[in-house]
Symmetry: C2
Subunit: 183 residues, 2 copies
Amino acid sequence: MADAAQTRQRILDIALELFTERGFAGTSVADLAGRLGTSKAALYHHFRSKNEILAALLEAPTRRFDELVAQASELTDEQLLGRVVDLTAELFAVAGVLDGDPSVQAAQRAQLLDRSRDINQALTAALVAPPGDADARLRAHAAYAAAKHGTLAAVADLGTTELPATSRTALVTAALRALHPAG
Amino acid sequence: MADAAQTRQRILDIALELFTERGFAGTSVADLAGRLGTSKAALYHHFRSKNEILAALLEAPTRRFDELVAQASELTDEQLLGRVVDLTAELFAVAGVLDGDPSVQAAQRAQLLDRSRDINQALTAALVAPPGDADARLRAHAAYAAAKHGTLAAVADLGTTELPATSRTALVTAALRALHPAG
DNA sequence: GTCTATACATAGATAGAC
DNA sequence: GTCTATCTATGTATAGAC
């Protein structure tokens, strides 16, 4: 009925749902198998551990944000905030779980890979000009939060991860205005 | 050495630390007792369940935000966003756990009391003028996110929940600018 | 108010048949 | 690729002594 790749993907989809609803630590392998409609053993045929499922879930999003970090210095504030809005909307569920669930951080830490803090800090730092300016730093926090969490709230509100162009513009503009002092 | 009220408070302090580090579901009663330096049974003398510890932890913050919701209609945008910044800074750890950890939501849901979503929605709605304007709604999401998550990031960054007046002003101003269209 | 000991359920994970 | 059955550790919670 289903080949390995397909089943693997179904497991990841289900894991994303349940981790979002109950958290990583709050979701058991039995919960996953239950919704999958199979046994725990069947699930362990596709992944060696619960942690490995989480890692697989976070891999692509982390890579995408890492790429953004790498480009950050060459982008304008508007381009950077726009990319944050786009990535957050596209990766809605994972982006929310990623830096919202403390048990995810704890699990990743156990594997020496707590990237999401680094990513948030790097992107925020890229928005601070001039470096060392305390007020600029606060505005960067506010602007980044507006882009990221504003988008998360907007996507949840609108019920779609496909943000219309006008909505995207509104969010980016709002974040930009938070970043720049009056003038 | 310690009377009941004191021990109870110590447990709450420890619970807040560990729930923040590992999440609610990711923290066991044995973990709490371990850091408390006593047995699990001793802990159960002060609280009837792990869920009760969580509820006790969330009670005061939830009440504070509820009060703000009640006043929201009488406040200006600036006053409302200022109160969000103040409450978030003051209740830093709990405010972060409160709407960051999915297992907290799940546990509260089991007790019919998922207030934090309601609070966020109500406060965001209070910022939308005129009602029904899609763009205003998005700016409200961005502004609220800037105030709340910008403050969370700022407090984590500064390492103190006592936000200096200039920092508070910078955050409120940034959130306000996110809210209001250019003009 | 704290302890040891323990009950009982569920956790993550594996063995081995089909 | 999926199953039943099971291992072992840990989970929440309680009993009863001190």
